[in-house]
Symmetry: C2
Subunit: 92 residues, 2 copies
């Protein structure tokens, strides 16, 4: 997570890495909202991150909004395929 | 999907199997809502199902509500582990 942004891109690392980014985000930024973004297989990880953060660490945390979408992704062979995306807004 | 229920449990089959269940659900049941339920890795598949259904097949379909949760799952060795869950309500 960049120092100024409240958006966390969830990828292939273990969920706890992103949970820490969520906690750090709320503690260091002057923000009530942190947004998790993920696509494809990482969507499950993003849900894990939200669930672990609010059940184990930040009891006041709420899942405020979940938006799903579809993006075109270019592949190495030049073709494109569709991939699902998710945006989870966490509010404290 | 049972003939009377509008709940589809998303598991490890390819997304299109569940997309067909969604379409069948809206066509054969007298319902405005079909609910996709999934847990763990299948959460990404459930999002794929919702996205494919509404972009490719049912243009009026809306993602009405997404609820996330955590469940305890018993493992074969007798221990339990936490698993994330999702419930996606589709409305037409």
């Amino acid at each position: 997570m960049s120092e100024k942004s409240n958006i966390i891109l969830v990828g292939r690392k273990p969920p706890m890495n992103y949970v820490l980014a969520v906690i750090t985000g709320f503690n260091t930024l002057n923000t009530e909202e942190v947004v998790l973004k993920a696509r494809g297989r990482a969507i499950s990880t993003a849900i894990d991150v939200a669930e672990i953060a609010r059940h184990r660490f930040l009891k006041d945390l709420k899942v405020d909004k979940i938006i799903t979408g579809t993006e075109e992704m270019s592949q190495e062979d030049g073709r494109t395929r569709m991939v699902s995306t998710i945006e989870i807004t966490l509010r404290q």
